[in-house]
């Protein structure tokens, strides 16, 4: 029941936050904070009390629940949490808390409705990370869209209508393709077993012919790759990220992108092992193009938020690379990249939001030399930029290193090119630091000489310090002792690998592994 409680907490918390606006305009954020804390407590409780239930079909499920929902199509409310889901839930709830912190002072208008949308998005994400029935999964997949659309459309920046529309159309159309692919699976289950089913475990036994399997797999891949986003389908992301309010960017970059990667690992590959194995070289090429191309695009941006958005696409390339390497290193690397990127990109978006809040611009050309005036903020920016470029000792390095290590065993050429991405990452990260925080002090609306007057009091507030501090600790933890996280996800990854081993042993994916 704990998963249900978690989702209900977020749904009900959101409704309460909206309702509480009637009493006091400051009440919604408190309500939202409480709801987030309760959900964090629930996830932590789940973590501490996790005794594996060995009887469940997957083997490694900490929680597994199933109720009938739509019997006509064999749809169940089937939720399960394993180590992998648990880590994702932890990330979701933690970043939800950060997003609440980011919105604390930024969102002043219609805050009740804002927190309603924030919590409902998170509820959808939690559903996505726990659903083990494909209909339920798709249901939550779509549920998180509308509130996110509203967050961008109402509280976004100057070009919000366009960005919100683009975000929605991209994700919705790819979602419909995903739905068709899911329905194909369900239908062929009914052909082969006499009844419709959307059960994750039952669908794994559906046998599809080679070419058709590839098409259905591509349906899943398009659905997830748009959300990830992977190279040709990424164009919604820079717009959505740069126009969303800070909390929205945090959710998008930190959590929503991870649903795509989660979908690939949980559904796209295990449901279609042969097709995925055949498709792996293409996916890895896409990943490499994404890494290099978007790193270059990032370098060309003047808008800080757009820059961070492009770096997100670039880093997600490493996830894609790791997933399609489909060995333990690759999968664990993808997982660590997801976690670490969730923290760094959220922190960087919060910093960019902080800059915009203070100086009303996101244009790097108009900002420089902030270090002297905002030492704390600049230090934080340096820390998270260095984390993003993959400094050893911080989480991103572990993730990217493991991804590359896994990919190297499968596809050397792609790995060599992907590794160049690390160099590009250092270039654009340090370039931002140099332009914005070093040099002569300059902000819009101030002459060069008057800048000092409103310096120090604009630096980070206590709330912001707590948020950044928490994320920094998380990154150091991941970098210094990743075993905490790797151990939690290892049973899942090993299980996924083993269960497919027999199926794909003869195909290209494993065949290329070096002796």
């Amino acid at each position: 029941m704990i998963v249900v409680w978690l989702i209900l907490t977020l749904f009900v918390g959101g409704a309460l936050a909206w309702a509480s606006e009637l009493m006091d305009s400051r009440l919604p954020r408190v309500t939202a904070l409480l709801a987030m804390l309760v959900s964090l407590a629930l996830v932590l409780w789940l973590y501490w009390s996790s005794a594996p239930a060995p009887l469940s079909p997957g083997g490694q499920w900490l929680v597994f629940e199933k109720w009938p929902w739509v019997e006509r199509f064999g749809i169940h409310l089937q939720v399960g949490v394993d180590g992998f889901s648990l880590l994702m839930l932890l990330l979701t709830v933690f970043l939800g808390l950060m997003a609440t912190g980011a919105a604390w002072h930024e969102i002043t208008e219609r805050s009740g409705f804002f927190y309603f949308n924030l919590l409902w998005t998170l509820a959808g994400v939690v559903g996505v990370f726990t659903a083990l029935d494909l209909f339920l999964f798709f249901f939550f997949w779509e549920v998180m869209l509308i509130p996110m659309y509203l967050i961008i459309a109402i509280w976004g920046h100057e070009n919000r209508a366009y960005a919100a529309m683009k975000f929605f159309v991209f994700t919705q159309v790819s979602g419909l393709i995903l739905l068709i692919a899911i329905l194909c699976l369900a239908y062929f289950h009914s052909v082969q077993f006499g009844r419709f089913s959307f059960d994750y475990f039952e669908l794994q036994s559906v046998v599809l012919e080679g070419r058709f399997q590839m098409l259905v797999m591509l349906g899943f891949f398009i659905g997830f790759a748009t959300k990830l986003p992977a190279f040709p389908l990424h164009s919604w992301l820079p717009d959505a990220h740069s126009q969303a309010p800070t909390a929205g960017s945090v959710l998008l970059a930190g959590v929503l992108l991870k649903t795509g990667a989660y979908g690939l690992i949980r559904f796209a590959v295990p449901l279609f092992p042969e097709a995925s194995a055949n498709f792996a070289p293409v996916a890895m090429t896409i990943a490499v193009i994404g890494i290099l191309y978007c790193a270059k695009l990032a370098f060309a941006q003047t808008d800080i938020k757009r820059l961070i958005a492009y770096t997100s696409v670039s880093h997600m390339g490493f996830v894609l690379l790791g997933v399609y390497a489909w060995n333990l290193y690759g999968l664990q690397g993808a997982l660590m990249t997801m976690l670490a990127h969730g923290l760094t990109s959220s922190a960087l978006f919060m910093l960019a939001g902080g800059l915009q809040h203070r100086f009303h611009t996101r244009d790097m050309g108009k900002l420089s030399g902030l270090w002297a005036q905002l030492p704390k903020m600049s230090a934080m920016a340096l820390f998270f930029s260095i984390a993003a470029l993959g400094m050893p000792g911080l989480g991103n390095f572990i993730g990217e290193f493991l991804s590359l290590l896994g990919a190297f065993q499968v596809n050397r050429v792609a790995t060599i090119f992907a590794a160049l991405g690390l160099i590009f990452a250092s270039v654009y990260s340090l370039w931002v630091i140099q332009r914005v925080f070093h040099g002569e002090f300059k902000v819009p609306g101030h002459g060069h000489d008057q800048g000092g007057h409103d310096g120090q009091e604009n630096d980070l507030s206590a709330t912001e310090l707590i948020c950044y501090g928490a994320m920094a600790i998380g990154l150091v933890w991941m970098g210094m002792y990743p075993q905490t996280f790797l151990a939690l996800s290892e049973p899942t990854m090993t299980f996924l690998l083993e269960s497919l081993d027999g199926l794909v042993s003869s195909t290209a994916l494993v065949g290329e592994v070096l002796p």
């Binding site: 009938p68 019997e71 459309a153 919100a164 159309v169 068709i180 369900a186 239908y187 009844r195």
Partner: protein
């Protein structure tokens, strides 16, 4: 005709009696409230009479009408929709200086026509029902409002509808005549038998195709499928809002139900030519409707184009009617008729809701059908905006709403029938559709920047808002707990086989 058969057509009798009563009351003394009340009571009584009818079904009442679960289900749907439109019309017509009562008269008779269509298994009743419905709709579309700001071109709309509707009736009649010449029968079920016996492979086979296509073209006119859609936007825009709502919901449902029955009984889909033509019509309707809706700023026109697209989605489900049955020993029967029935239910709820919101903020003096009228509605009247948003999201097929389940059903049917081209068209169409549905929602979210043209707060009657609440529940409950509704629809379509 036995006593039992009279009982079976009780809903038709009650609706007829209601219209006669209304007419006599109008002759005695005009009173808007009484007319509305009598109409509503009549419709409720007709609904109640279904409890008597249901245990007796399925049964043929003369060769002309059949009363089975399928009929009863859609009779219920049509009567509920008619009741909702009646209740919503009252405040709309209240400030009309001209006569208000005739509107209810036309409404009940049109409902009667729709009920006849839903029950017909014979070309005669089908045609009779279509004509009763259409003739009343001419009057409703041209209902005199005499205001500058109200519906602008009721006469133009009505003439357009009259001419094109008459033409489509002509197509249907010609098709019927050809079929009769071939088979000597006008009963749906006998047509197939007659054909297979006499003209299966002879020159008559071509006759059958041509005749069926003529009939289908006439039906497509009423469903406003591309390329027979040209009247739709003008008629929607010109008609008073309650009439538009009636045309968009009951008018379409009755026609679509007739089409489902016609196609599943006569087996026109066995002809590949007809299936191909229908597939082309479906693709054209989906793409055409959605593309034309993109740039509309008049919500009536926008919804008219969106209804064209929705009828295209429905047609996909209809094309797959035979897909499961054909395979020998198939465990899974076709989802097509189920999908079509569910989609129709969803379509009625969401269109009625969308038009309902527009009716509530309008009256016969001022029709607020421009997108600008709804700017900032979210912050001025959150309740109406919430309903409107829910209806639009449902039309766009977003989960938690009945529209999503409907779309899911159609997808499932199309996957079963392996209609990949049609699926692709539906995905593209839905993608385009998002633009205009979201545009309205975005306008409702945008804070108002000019003087308020829309005294939304003026309309505070309880009844219309209660109707909207019921519609909202009907939108969300089947969207969240679709199981019961799916079994209902599954049961209902059993009577087609």
């Amino acid at each position: 005709m036995t006593q039992e058969q009279l009982l079976l057509i009780l809903p038709l009798i009650i609706v007829t009696a209601t219209s006669v009563t209304t007419m006599l009351l109008v002759a005695a003394k005009r009173n808007h409230a009484v007319s509305c009340f009598v109409t509503s009571v009549g419709l409720v009584l007709a609904l109640a009479s279904l409890f008597i009818v249901a245990p007796l079904a399925p049964q043929e009442v003369t060769p002309l009408l059949i009363v089975d679960n399928f009929n009863i289900f859609f009779t219920t749907l049509i009567l509920l929709a008619a009741l909702a439109i009646t209740l919503l019309s009252y405040p709309y017509l209240c400030n009309l200086e001209d006569h208000q009562d005739e509107f209810y008269l036309l409404l009940t008779i049109a409902t009667l026509g729709a009920l006849v269509m839903v029950g017909s298994t014979h070309y005669i009743t089908a045609f009779l029902g279509m004509e009763i419905l259409s003739v009343c709709l001419y009057g409703m579309v041209a209902y005199p409002l005499h205001r500058e700001q109200s519906a602008q071109y009721p006469m133009e709309a009505s003439i357009k509808y009259l001419v094109l509707s008459a033409m489509s009736s002509g197509f249907v009649l010609f098709g019927m005549a050809l079929l009769y010449a071939q088979t000597g029968t006008l009963h749906f079920a006998d047509i197939t038998a007659g054909l297979s016996g006499v003209v299966a492979d002879g020159p008559g086979a071509a006759y059958f195709v041509i005749a069926s296509l003529l009939v289908l073209a006439g039906f497509a006119f009423k469903l406003s499928l591309v390329p027979f859609h040209l009247w739709t936007p003008d008629v929607y825009e010109g008609a008073p809002l309650p009439a538009t709502a009636f045309l968009a919901t009951i008018g379409k449902v009755a026609m679509a139900v007739l089409l489902i029955r016609f196609m599943s009984v006569t087996g026109v889909l066995q002809s590949e030519a007809i299936t191909n033509v229908l597939a082309i019509i479906a693709v054209l309707s989906i793409l055409g409707g959605n593309l034309l809706a993109l740039l509309q700023s008049n919500l009536k026109r926008l919804l008219s184009y969106s209804s064209i697209a929705h009828m295209g989605y429905l047609l996909i489900a209809l094309i797959t009617l035979n897909s499961g049955v054909n395979e020998p020993g198939a465990v899974v029967t076709s989802l097509g008729s189920e999908a079509a029935s569910f989609y129709l239910m969803a379509y009625v709820v969401m269109s009625l809701g969308a038009f309902g919101v527009m009716i509530v903020v309008s009256d016969s003096g001022h029709e607020r059908d421009h997108i600008g009228h709804y700017q900032g509605l979210f912050w001025r009247d959150p309740w109406l905006a919430l309903i409107f948003t829910a209806m639009l999201l449902s039309l766009a097929g977003i989960p938690l709403t009945i529209g999503f389940i409907g779309k899911f059903y159609v997808f499932a049917a199309a996957v079963q029938g392996a209609e990949w081209t049609l699926l692709a068209a539906m995905v593209i169409g839905s993608g385009i559709g998002l633009f205009y549905y979201l545009r309205i929602i975005y306008r409702m979210l945008t804070p108002i920047d000019h003087e308020d043209l829309l005294p939304v707060m003026g309309i505070r009657e309880v009844v219309p808002h209660a109707v909207l609440l019921v519609l909202l529940l009907a939108l969300i409950v089947p969207g969240v707990i679709p199981g019961w509704w799916m079994s209902l629809v599954e049961l209902v379509v059993q009577s087609l086989y």
